[in-house]
Amino acid sequence: MNKVLLLAKSNLRKNRGTSVGLFLLMMIATCLVGISLLIFFDCYPTAQKAAERLKGGDGFILIRDDLEGFTDEKIEELIGKDTDQYYVYRNLNYPTLSLPFGDGEVGISLNLTDSSAFTREMNFFEIVKEDTSITENYVYLPYQFNTSGGYEIGDIYEFENAGKKYSYKVRGFNDVVYGGGNNTGRYEFVLDDASYKKVWDEEHETGECIVIIYDLKDGVESGAFRIRISNEMLKVNPNTVMDGSPLDVVISNRTFIGLIVAVSILVLTSLIVIAVAMMLANCISNYVNENMKTLGALKAIGYTGKDIKLSLIVWFLALAVIASITGIILSYVFMPIFAGIMIGQMGLSYNISFNLMATLIPIAFVIVFALIVTVLSARKIGKIHPIVALKEGVESHNFKKNHVALDKTSLNPTMSLAMKTFFGNMKQNVITFFVVGFMVFACIIALLMFENFSRNPKVEILTTELCAGVVASDLESKDEIRDYLESRKDVENVREIINLSLYYNEEESLFTYIVKDPSKMRNSSICYKGRLPEYDNEVVISGSFAKKYGYDIGDEIKLDYGDNSFNYLITGLIQTTNNAGREALLTYKAADHLLDIDQIPGWFWFDIANESSDNDANIEETEKILEECKDKYGAHVINTMDFFKIIGGSMTTFKSISAMMLIVMIVVSVVVIGLILFLLIKSLIYHKRKDYGIYKALGYTSGSLMLQTALSFMPPVIVSIIVFSIGSYFSANPYMSTFMHAFGLMKCSFDIPVAGVVLIGIGLAIVSFVLALLQTRRIKKIEAYNMLVAE
């Protein structure tokens, strides 16, 4: 073994540059795998642990609008038998509110509460940070307002409801299970006791709600429990509205972006891993060719092929072990950046802790991977005959074709010699082609995310239907307000859409869009398969729900609301990232089988006639319409929403993530391309060092040799960029659909800006050329005289 170690040490010393290049590639790969696994293993459990710590139970139920009949005894009767424990509290609820957040607003359900929130037995609040010197008229906001919303302690937070303004000083931020993240559709604010009492006194008659946090007994199924409670509550008081969510839905809504990031990084890493494999195999092949005489001499003095192979394995394994350990340490170093994304989206404080699986898997993966590639690539060493090797006869020259004959080409000398080098190094071309191509693909995926989540947000990801604004009216003025909106010249396409929860098979709730006329819907890509419903027996359901229960177009599905049930024909599948992918859509006529639609307030969704690309102008225009409507109908308008504002707020967390992903992918791509070019060019120059010496003796300058060498790498770079750009342009959406399935998006139709693709292509080509040119600097060190006399 000593002799093998001696050889391995000698290899490492002699091939320092190659070792450093491979070390860095393996380190980057391990670091990225480590980060993605840390997110993967930590994201969901962090939210789960927080729910456990803050005693979130198995879910919550919110009862609002009409609370008559819901005494403590009645609640015990309804809840008690299926739960180990439950906790009931009352506070104020605003079911639909536009709250300032980040760059805009979020459309959300808001609960206001007092300091008792910190001492509740279940779903209590935990302060993340605070300033106790603020003693009056203050508010504790969910932590997400600090991490993504841009608010700091001491800021004034203002919002409006039904024309009434609320203004508080931010005293601190808190963690809370329910009511802490915009993706869950709910926030809960803690006011100082005096402020809360004032609001309570003024608004409890209309806004009081009951919140029940429950912990189910073993064996009680969450969906069935919620359906039973919903039905029984309607029996207690038919005018009441039940809201709330099971814990798993809340956690999934709070963590899905983190998981998207983890999957994206993992995919990028897999491309880097392929690049590392190609380079590792290439390095071993180069090692054999470059050290043919040494290998011959070693065999001649008695080393076996096995000894030499073992020394290579020791060399590359040593590199893999050190690189993977360094990489995993770096993943913990960089994790706070990614943790910031998770915190921003989850709205929960997150402490990075050691995760055994996320640490061991990347290390084991890189080591095993390096071992397999080394063993496979080093096989030819065994076949080398010492005498042949000593004569360097293994690498025989077999020139079948004189590419770019200098007497015939119309290219100038630099270009023609560059082309000769290009044609003479097909292995290098193949590696360059695929590595650059993989990086192009990764960058285009990042560009797609940036374009659709940040620069020009694709709101369809977040909501089933789009509009400029929404006006909700009471029953009394429903027709009048509809007529008013339709009569306005600045308003277009007024449509009636109501949201409520229907139930499936006493197991699952389905967040349902009840649409008067589906043909008026603006989100044309919502139905990715089949068609929207037209008749009173038709429904469309979300693809992930259909997949879970084995439904397809043409099947019948029984939906329930209260005591009513109806069998609907599935005419299409829709896609959604909301509500854990459990959504449905049907017409007013179809909903009439389950409930009296005329007894539900009017929700009017509308577009503006002069919608422009300027979001601020759209916000202003929509605000004007909503204000005028409120002025005209006063309290008959029970709610309004400016969608353009909400887009800004809701997309805040997506924006920062997608921008960071783009930066990370571009940086990683440049580094990987740089490292691969370093290894390839280093090897090329080593192989051609004698030729460079001859060229220099003939009168070629270092500059012209550097230029022709760098240019020889450009054909595979340019062809790769063109091929992979076109390929990525067409395959990015199917690819995204594959891994977005888990998040509810079944058939992605994200925009890919051609200008951005071209820009990435040109950018990577220029960067590749500059990096190649920088790597060729070592040609300067080749002196004709030294090279020739050394031979």
Partner: protein, 251 residues
């Protein structure tokens, strides 16, 4: 006679592990136009170092080298490369053709550095290859597909493609058998007779006979010089003169 190269106090010192080795010591020398100058000496005397210092391939430690009136010792690496293009041709012992290029391309790669007219260059390369007895079927072969003698003659053609003022040859027959070596020497002699100036390093008397001026290098200095006059095949008196000179030098 016009000189092409003039050196003044040319010194070359190599350092290795703190030990200095003075390979060339204060050499004052002139190389004349049209001459076939031979540099002889024992192994390690500094012959090749002198040759490469004269050609600008290597930089002297001290002193100066002027080529056709221009001091090349002041030039940087790239300036020297540009200088070599049109002024110097090289013939090496190991030939040093570019293996990945055909015979014709090896000439073209050198010629394109000076000439832009590709048609003229192809014609010229063809003429030169014919002149060194490399016939057309071999032009598209690769260096590894032709014999050592043929490769060396291609090397000579390449050295001449840009009509250099001076051809430097470093033991061009050192790796060849006597028959192919003679063919190479005949080629060089033929071009010298046409007026091509040549400086050749050799330790082979047969090769040295081709020169008209013999410089003997000993311990880094020009120990002696012998003028043989024009080469004539089988001139015994000339041969004897060279033998006597070399004997005097301690050969």
């Amino acid at each position: 006679m016009k000189n092409i190269i003039e050196t003044k106090k040319l010194c070359k010192t190599f350092s290795n592990g703190g030990i200095q080795q003075h390979v060339l010591k204060n050499i004052d020398l002139e190389i004349y136009e049209g001459d076939f100058t031979i540099i002889m000496g024992a192994s390690g005397a500094g012959k090749s170092t002198l040759l490469y210092s004269l050609s600008g391939m290597d930089k002297p430690t001290l002193g100066s080298v002027s080529f056709d009136g221009t001091e090349i010792t002041k030039m940087n690496t790239d300036e020297l490369a540009l200088f070599r293009r049109s002024n110097c041709g090289f013939v090496f012992q190991q030939v040093y053709l570019v293996d990945s290029m055909s015979v014709l391309d090896n000439l073209m790669a050198a010629g394109l550095l000076v000439y832009r007219d590709k048609k003229m260059l192809v014609k010229k390369a063809g003429e030169l290859l014919k002149a060194v007895s490399i016939e057309e079927p071999l032009w598209n072969k690769f260096p590894t597909q032709i014999s050592g003698g043929e490769a060396q003659r291609v090397g000579i053609a390449r050295a001449l493609i840009n009509e250099p003022k001076l051809v430097f040859a470093d033991e061009p027959t050192g790796a060849l058998n006597s028959q192919t070596g003679k063919a190479v020497l005949d080629t060089l002699t033929k071009f010298n007779e046409k007026g091509q100036s040549i400086v050749m390093v050799t330790h082979d008397i047969t090769s040295a006979r081709r020169g008209n001026r013999i410089l003997y290098v000993k311990d880094g200095e020009i120990a002696g010089e012998c003028n043989l006059g024009k080469y004539v095949t089988g001139d015994k008196e000339r041969h004897q003169k060279l033998n006597d000179f070399l004997a005097k030098m301690g050969w």
